[in-house]
């Protein structure tokens, strides 16, 4: 797995590179926009970490150029600014995720791994966590190597949760996923779907768990329930 770290601060760049290398990634670094574009033309990366403030260009501009040149590698934007407006702007510009400085090693690894689970370039279309995997085209759910049948509604919920592994998914987002599959949903359709999915995962011995945050949403983690 190849990662490009675009960061102008040499110390941060070095420590991120070392950490990712420690965890088995092949890491390249670029200190400015020019180096980054050169690297992106030569190699194909699985994840790009992009700092927003570069000496020669705005990170956002670089991101737009990448997308314009059809470089579709997933991009995690690293920013020192945490304003909501800016995050929305980033996602609009084509960022796949963002990390607010300072971030911990766990956060960094979790985000990078989450990116790798994403079906980049639409070729890799298998989402997985623990012993659970979901093929997004055929909607085939496999738990511990065994194919499991599940209603479309539950598959929709699971897909959304898998795409946001380890992170809170707002109830509204899940509701949208369910609505898009089925237009006859009751107000508590999401709760019902999640509780059925949870039971189904449990019965088939899935090594993942769905945590509910009442009033907010759900989180799928690849740790077994305690």
């Amino acid at each position: 797995m190849r990662v490009l770290v675009i960061e102008d601060n040499p110390r941060l760049s070095a420590v991120v590179a070392k950490l990712l290398a420690d965890h088995g990634f092949a890491v390249d670094t670029a200190a400015d926009g020019e180096e980054a574009e050169a690297a992106l033309r030569i190699a194909s990366y699985d994840v790009v970490l992009l700092d927003l403030t570069l000496p020669d260009t705005e990170g956002l501009a670089l991101l737009r150029r990448m997308r314009a040149e059809k470089i579709m590698a997933p991009v995690i934007v690293v920013t020192a600014r945490s304003e909501v407006v800016q995050r929305v702007q980033l996602l609009d510009a084509g960022a796949d995720d963002y990390l607010v400085k300072p971030f911990s090693m766990d956060e960094l690894l979790a985000r990078v791994r989450a990116m790798l689970r994403r079906p980049a370039h639409m070729a890799d279309d298998i989402l997985s966590a623990g012993n659970v995997s979901l093929e997004t085209k055929s909607l085939t759910l496999t738990i511990d190597g065994v194919t499991v049948d599940a209603p479309r509604r539950e598959i929709g919920v699971l897909e959304t949760l898998l795409r946001n592994l380890g992170r809170l998914v707002a109830k509204q987002k899940l509701a949208d996923a369910v609505y898009s599959l089925d237009n006859e949903v009751t107000p508590n359709a999401v709760e019902v779907a999640v509780s059925r999915l949870r039971k189904r995962l449990q019965t088939h011995g899935a090594a993942v768990s769905i945590t509910a945050m009442r009033g907010l949403g759900y989180v799928l983690t690849d740790q077994c329930p305690p």
Binding site: V16, E107, M213, L216
Partner: protein
């Protein structure tokens, strides 16, 4: 009486009580229009006086003219009296000063044929047919003339005047004489002149002149009043954190334009200073975040040891402090903006969603309870989010791993955060909101977070308090935000009044 008692107090500022917040009462602020009008009226009055003096001086410089007009005037009134069938001897100068004024009326020009018609105080006059024949002839030939009487004997103050009148087809000759002027006839002449040629025209001119002056003043000062109204907007713009738009310079007179250019320059540099200051606080916080990220990641690569844990703790503390400072800077900025009615539910939900990752990292969950409908408070979303973030951040940090942090909103807009941390001892329950008070140092914290919470909540006409969590260990933080003002009273005027409230609070 009240005027008498208040006046000395007003004149003696020392008599005021020392704690009085107002400075010594200033002179009442008078408008430039009134000052100008008052001064121009004064100048006009001065000009009138000067004109009067000038006219008087001109007459005084030509005493002969005055004298002639006095004698001619006397002659005219004698003729008038005679024509009306009254006795001219009863005219005041003749009656009151028999030794100073006299008159003679006769009917023929030639000395020989003269016949006396009337005579008053004849002892002052030369004999009817005698004195200085040729000279008299000359007088009469020439018509009106004034000459000194008895030029030889040095009585130079005695003058005679001869004039011709036609009354009802008859021709009369009138000689008037005056020795000195005890009745001050020439003074009366002067008065009349001044009245007729100065006072009357001035009185006629004055109202029109005043009106013209007032209109001119008002018209000339119009750009100034217009600009000063606009200038009030500058202050409001700077206070509310907006960039003030410069005052228009076009069409202003030179003096006002210089002033406006100066004001524009000042407000522009003030605004720059403001923006720089705001930028500085947030830049510093952002600049600190990169080295903190390096430290955080470097410590993660160290072999586990008590030292590593200690360093990691300190780095976490620093990160919290930087985040607090950044939020403080954001809050300072947001406080300048106006508050508005706002649904508090999505704002608090956003905070919970933002901090969910942090809770997950500690295997905690966040519960969020809110009424189904909107809960409207009067406030600023950024400030409310900052306040709730600070409280929730503490709750997550202080609660044990695997516990639940509950956030709830009631229908009045009160936000309650329950944690399972160590709780707050009774003695500290009020001090905890004071600035730089940090309580138990083991718990960390910069002493900024809760002070900011308290400030934000007070700005929202609310209050913050901490109590023991009911039915368990932990603390409950209650943030009450003021409700929006009552709907029925929500007239435009009331809304405008309210909008000014935040500006006056800081």
């Amino acid at each position: 009486m009240p005027a008498l008692t208040t006046e000395p107090a007003a004149r003696e500022p020392a008599a005021r009580e020392p704690g009085s917040p107002q400075p010594a009462p200033q002179q009442p602020v008078r408008s430039l229009q009134r000052i100008l009008a008052f001064r121009i009226v004064l100048v006009c009055l001065g000009a009138t006086v000067a004109l009067t003096a000038y006219v008087a001086a001109i007459y005084l410089m030509d005493l002969a003219e005055l004298r002639q007009r006095a004698l001619a005037g006397m002659a005219a009134s004698v003729v008038e009296e005679l024509a009306a069938g009254r006795n001219p001897a009863l005219l005041p100068p003749f009656r009151d000063y028999p030794s100073a004024y006299g008159v003679r009326v006769f009917n023929r020009r030639s000395v020989e044929n003269r016949k006396l018609v009337a005579e008053v105080n004849p002892h002052l006059l030369p004999p009817l047919t005698a004195a200085g024949g040729t000279e008299s002839d000359y007088d009469i030939t020439e018509g009106l003339a004034v000459r000194p009487l008895g030029a030889d004997d040095g009585a130079a103050d005695s003058w005679i005047y001869t004039d011709h009148f036609d009354v009802k087809g008859n021709s009369y000759w009138v000689q008037t004489v005056m020795a000195g002027d005890p009745a001050r006839l020439w003074w009366g002449i002067m008065e009349k002149e001044v009245r007729d040629h100065v006072m009357v025209p001035v009185l006629f001119l004055m109202p029109g002149l005043m009106l013209a002056i007032l209109l001119t003043i008002r018209r000339s000062l119009e750009p100034l009043t217009r600009i000063s109204r606009r200038a009030a907007g500058l202050t409001r713009a700077i206070e509310s954190g907006n960039t003030p738009s410069p005052l228009p310079v076009a069409g202003l007179p030179a003096e006002v334009r210089d002033l406006v250019v100066a004001i524009n320059g000042m407000s522009a540099s003030l605004d720059q200073l403001f923006q720089r200051q705001k930028q500085f606080a947030s830049d510093v916080a952002h600049e600190l975040r990169t080295p903190l990220a390096v430290m955080l990641l470097e410590t993660a690569r160290l072999a586990p040891s008590p030292e590593r844990e200690s360093i990691a703790d300190e780095v976490q503390g620093l990160i919290r402090m930087v985040n607090q400072l950044l939020r403080l800077a954001q809050a300072e900025d947001a406080m300048l903006r106006e508050r508005a009615p706002l649904d508090i539910v999505p704002a608090v939900r956003r905070v919970c969603e933002d901090l969910a990752d942090r809770a997950m990292a500690r295997s905690q969950t966040i519960e969020f309870d809110a009424p189904d409908g909107p809960v409207v408070v009067f406030g600023h979303p950024t400030l409310i989010e900052i306040a709730v973030t600070n409280v929730l951040d503490n709750a997550i940090r202080l609660s044990p791993r695997g516990s639940v942090v509950s956030v709830s909103i009631d229908t009045a807009g009160t936000v309650t955060v329950d944690d399972s941390g160590p709780g707050v001892p009774d003695a500290d329950k009020t001090r905890i909101f004071e600035r730089y008070w940090r309580g138990d140092t083991r718990r960390g914290g910069s002493g900024i977070g809760l002070a900011l919470v308290s400030r934000i909540v007070r700005l929202h006409d609310g209050a913050a308090r901490v109590e023991d969590r009911p039915g368990g260990t932990g603390a409950r933080f209650v943030l009450r935000f003021g409700p929006p003002p009552d709907r029925p009273a929500d007239t435009r005027a009331a809304r405008l009044r309210r909008l000014r409230v935040p500006a006056s609070l800081h």
